[in-house]
Symmetry: C2
């Protein structure tokens, strides 16, 4: 299956990552795409690329609006819109289990986290409640910055893997429709 | 002994590091200053601070001119000038043992390193020949970016420790002169 840089940018917001992985496309399987993505992410791109990818995420508990941008013609806006929509989906359990006080506490801890580490708290939120996310944030907060930087990169990779799977299934549906 | 942010910025080019460490000044001894500096560097400042400190270094083998800036009135220029002068001293063995072909090779490897990792190759150069530095660069080049990021931070800390020692001995000389 073939993906362009824009598709891949919606999976991980580093332009260098998207560029490197697009060069390796087409992929024979999701398994192959994930293996290549892991290699690019952990071995090929530099720390600036990690920071760029982290900055593409909304603060957890604060999904950005994903409407109105579907009419945009710029490719990076389109990647951004897809990413925002996926982010909303990934946080659906958290949002369903949130109370206004837990969201308030999460927002305060997010701010403390960002102040200490210089980037947003990243966690693969799929299937996690707000309480679970908050407890992870508190557990990770005392970490040394370099340790937390690497944990955040591992979480980003988990998110990227889920999104690559979505990309594969979306493209498969489109091509099976085309075949009809 | 008391140091301001400007003194500390010449030891390590991260403004956040200099700010945090200056808050802990005065120091009862060099030993105490180094222990506090290590704590700030590894536990308190974020990865952006590390990158800022790295970017304050000249490419190894390319000492910047340290003249003319002593007349500058801005404090950051003064810190920069001190740092440039120290950098020249730290690289004196390397420069004394360099040939034009080894400098050329070092320059090429530096460029490859920066292209891969996104920051200059950092090594505590004191007492090391150009060949030793080049061989370290080649040995470290295959590292994963996150691994190399942490090694560079360790090297930065070694440089900071040497510079804190210089700062202590300079200030001690000045104050013993004042006593006469």
């Amino acid at each position: 299956m073939e993906f362009g840089e824009e598709d891949l940018l919606a999976c991980c917001g580093s332009t260098r990552f998207a560029h490197e992985l697009a060069k390796a496309s087409p992929f024979s399987s999701l398994h192959e795409a994930i293996a290549l993505a892991r290699d690019v992410w952990f071995n090929k791109v530099d720390v600036h690329a990690w920071l760029q990818a982290f900055s593409a995420h909304p603060q957890i508990g604060h999904s950005p609006p994903s409407s109105s941008s579907s009419s945009s013609s710029s490719s990076s806006s389109s990647a951004h819109s897809t990413s925002a929509q996926w982010s909303k989906g990934e946080q659906s359990t958290a949002l369903a289990t949130a109370t206004s006080s837990s969201l308030q506490e999460l927002s305060e801890w997010n701010a403390r986290y960002k102040e200490k580490f210089g980037f947003v708290f990243l966690i693969c939120a799929s299937g996690r409640s707000t309480d679970e996310i908050l407890s992870e944030l508190k557990k990770r907060y005392p970490n040394r910055p370099i340790v937390e930087f690497e944990i955040a990169a591992e979480e980003q990779m988990k998110i990227t893997e889920l999104r690559l799977a979505k990309l594969f299934s979306t493209k498969a549906k489109v091509s099976s429709k085309d075949d009809q």
